[in-house]
Symmetry: C2
Subunit: 213 residues, 2 copies
């Protein structure tokens, strides 16, 4: 099955298409062409067609792609068509923003439990979720069987949290802490580092400025 061998950049593009297709579907748009996709996502039309052809035939020449059908097929490819249980560690501002983010539910991600190590937070609620002691993570996940987790704790606590998650049989971590986590090879990690994104923008702005002088 070629799907199992899809490289990460292809997956990233598929996730980008899916975000935009959800947006179109919510607005009631029924069809989309590869050139419209290019205009909105910045990924060129030929690349878009190539990415889709990798997983079988989709569109009709001259007519385009059915938005809902394409959305469902990409969701199936990315395995996000069924509910995905997610653990969240960190009940601070960032954790709160993540747990309250409407886009998660829209793409079938369901945060099933929140953990923290702060005794002022444990036992309280974050949105509709109970905040549990991080020490109970492994035992609770035996019931919940989540495979995905989000780390939203300060940098100095993140590695210890990652160790807890690995121990609780988590197989993929989305890490918001600005450190590079050490985890076993079979655990996937993706980092969200918005300060790094600002640094790239900072350079690009300076370059624009340099062009003026």
């Amino acid at each position: 099955m070629p799907i199992h061998r899809a490289p990460v950049p292809t997956l990233e593009r598929l996730a980008t298409y899916l975000t935009y297709l959800n947006e179109l579907d919510a607005r009631g748009v029924e069809m989309i062409s590869s050139s419209e996709m290019e205009a909105r996502t910045g990924i060129n039309a030929a690349q878009f067609r190539k990415d889709l052809s990798y997983f079988g035939e989709f569109g009709r020449p001259g007519i385009g792609y059915n938005v809902r059908e394409l959305k469902q097929r990409i969701a199936r490819i990315l395995k996000v068509e069924n509910e995905q249980r997610v653990l969240l560690v960190g009940a601070g501002n960032l954790g709160s923003a993540i747990a309250g983010y409407p886009g998660l539910r829209a793409q079938n991600f369901n945060i099933v439990a929140v953990f923290d190590n702060n005794y002022n937070k444990i036992g309280r609620r974050l949105w509709e979720l109970d905040i549990h002691d991080i020490a109970d993570l492994k035992s609770l996940n035996k019931e919940m069987q989540a495979r995905l987790a989000i780390i939203a704790v300060p940098a100095n606590a993140a590695q210890e949290v990652a160790n807890h998650l690995v121990d609780a049989d988590i197989k993929a971590i989305l890490n918001f802490a600005p450190i590079t986590l050490k985890v076993p090879a079979e655990v996937a990690v993706r980092n969200v580092d918005f300060v790094q994104e600002l640094a790239v923008l900072s350079f690009l702005v300076a370059r624009e400025g340099a062009g003026d002088s």
Copy 2:
């Protein structure tokens, strides 16, 4: 100057190195080798050396790189060695998490003003910052002269916010809303879409699972 032509993937890697170098410097580590850099960032050692050579000579063979010196040079390349003023739009949970994020100050990003369109928020404070009316963005930025801005509003409000920012002479936008913004070509946009990152992880986890069967 080759610096002006540095491609975005190079900049992304430089920002990754910088994050890790800040971490090392904070821990008092003085030297780093390219192979240690590879072990922590996942970017291979040859690529690291090549990225640096693009901007002139840095390390010493067999000895490695001085952490503080390398950090300062990369900060200079990325133009983050001086304070960068940033506007934040959106004073909700996400905006609060961003404004309170300690890593921003550590890399010289300074959020100078927060904007919202909610009259229950305007006039209040977010951390130590006043929340201003989005309608005043253009006039206030005439004084503040920020070139960078962060959008932390719901998807359905993000395009209108982007229009305000462009009108206020913002040249680079970090967008947390899960939509593709339309802006003039001279305005740089980077998107932070963590649901997309979760979708990639979801696929990778499913692939691991498939390998077991």
